[in-house]
């Protein structure tokens, strides 16, 4: 069977019940989706399937023939980062980075679906994604900024959560 990964037509040899996560990582060497729990609980393996965010660890590859699969590699390279990617860098929303590909994919789907910069709505959209480093605030800031601008990497704007004790 075939799937389209980040715009490239790829032939899949794995058996149809193989999780898409394993097909991407082990067969096709697309490494940004992470195996955090392989039980659908952490969100680190999330990819876009025909534009919708899906857990690749719970998706049998045989169930998505000819699908268009997008990972963060497909959203933008270091020189061509999307707004969401730039905002994550600008707000230090990626700390250890292991949850980041899934977060960015979910945030991208949320904003492309017309999501607002409201922190509660963003939280609900990202609710299935676990981050143990950031405490989530920087992630919410990044997604809100990606919606409204203010993530320009050439600026030196202070992060709103940088509080200095005097």
């Amino acid at each position: 069977m075939n799937i389209i990964v980040n715009g490239n037509n790829r032939t899949v040899e794995s058996p149809p019940l193989t999780p898409l996560l394993h097909v991407l990582r082990e067969e096709l060497d697309v490494l940004s989706p992470k195996a955090g729990c392989e039980n659908g609980g952490c969100g680190a393996c999330t990819v876009l399937i025909d534009g919708a965010p899906r857990r690749s660890c719970l998706t049998a590859v045989g169930s998505v023939p000819d699908a268009e699969v997008t990972t963060v590699e497909g959203l933008g390279a270091p020189e061509t980062m999307s707004d969401v990617q730039q905002a994550f860098v600008h707000y230090c929303a990626a700390q250890c980075g292991f949850c980041t590909p899934g977060m960015i994919i979910a945030a991208t789907a949320y904003l492309e679906g017309g999501g607002s910069a409201d922190r509660v709505e963003i939280s609900e959209a990202l609710a299935g994604h676990v981050c143990r480093c950031t405490g989530y605030l920087k992630i919410l800031d990044a997604v809100a900024a990606a919606r409204d601008g203010g993530f320009d990497l050439s600026t030196t704007a202070e992060s709103p959560h940088t509080t200095v004790l005097t």
Binding site: L31, P78, F98
Partner: protein, 456 residues
Amino acid sequence: MKAVGARLPRYDGVGHATGRTVYVDDVRVNRMLHVKALRSPYHHAAIKRLDTSRAEQMPGVAAVVTHADVPLLVYGHLSALGIPADEPLLASEDVRYKGQPIAVVAAEDTDAAQAAVDAIDIEFEELPALFDMRKAFDDDAPQIHHWGPIYPHFEGEMNVRQIRKGNIDEAFEQADKIIQGVYRPAAIEQMPLETQVGLSVPEPDGRFTIYSCTQALYFSMGVVAAHLQQPLNKFKFVGGTVGGGFGGKVDTATETLCTLLAQKSGRPVKWRWTREEEFLCSSTRAPWHMEIIDAVSNDGWILGRKMLTLHDAGGYARFSPYGVTKHSFHHTGAYTIPNLHFDGYVVFTNRVPTSAMRGYGVTSVSFAVETHMSRIAEELGVDPFELRLKNANRIGDTSPNGITYTDPSTVDVLHALAGATDTELAAPYSDTTREMRHGEWLPEHLVGQLGDPEDH
């Protein structure tokens, strides 16, 4: 000084945001083998028979390693400091926690490795287990550890970490009130998103390149070299990209066994733990049992503190003595108490061994001390900010282990907290400073405890 005060981008931010960061599980080498472990299904058991001969013949199996294959079986994380070790890399005679590794298999894929693990012939004799450290001292408590119920190797071969400071009896004689509390925070799994993972690649010159998710690269290198009884220059460690650790990746989890399997098979060996293994078998933050008894005056001075701490080490010591030592140094929190009587014990149970997590040894006592401060304020009818500001560490005050504070931040933090919570502080608390004690800030019980910051 270009960096101080400047807003700098994270050096690894772009890699993270574009999926280019290479974690250990993303490293690709040819002919890589995969690992599964035989782990104890019991919390406590004797191993009566272990035979891997059938597993070794299973299809796809390249190497099986048991305790018999390890040149130095027992080595501890504190061994480099000359502290005796207690934990075997693989269990040989007994298992002391559920999930303890007994044998590991490297095979062409994880299914083949698991099938071989299932084919290992092993017989256990289940033993009674202990989970409540308060019962470790009972006469009928299960015998878990060859060192006895508590860790016996603090300095001077003592089984307790003690602090004695000032005159505790006098403090309790002078007290207006005695205020007690018991605090018992539970174990916490650090739960990094990246589970424990290692990859060991045998090189043609006999060396090993080891990709590690460790938080403590040279620690792990020393541990691997010691178990294999080879010099450090046989190992090249590649690390620095950690998918979350929070203390849970200080202990060496996979690197040694991957390298033994790589040595035996002559092939690269990767071991990535499942989420279930991470939860069940990786070290956690310890459960603690802390009893605080304070001698206090009616106007809110803490004259003396007696404290008993039990720290649950799980089945083996690992870093626990270090954790309790740090804990003891911090048992007055951010406050100055001149008369102290502290006893801290490392207790063995049949829990998974405990280790570091964010503020190792200190988070527990900070929780206990701050809760106790609020309890004192309530029982005395004193404002909680005023109680804290009164007893707050100041320049020249001395810590439980005799260090003179030169740069204490307690007063500044309390003032910032008051500001952040719109709390109006009354004079003189509104303008308390951290400067050396004098006048009303130097009551009778603190005279004589001050150190000279210049001597620090």
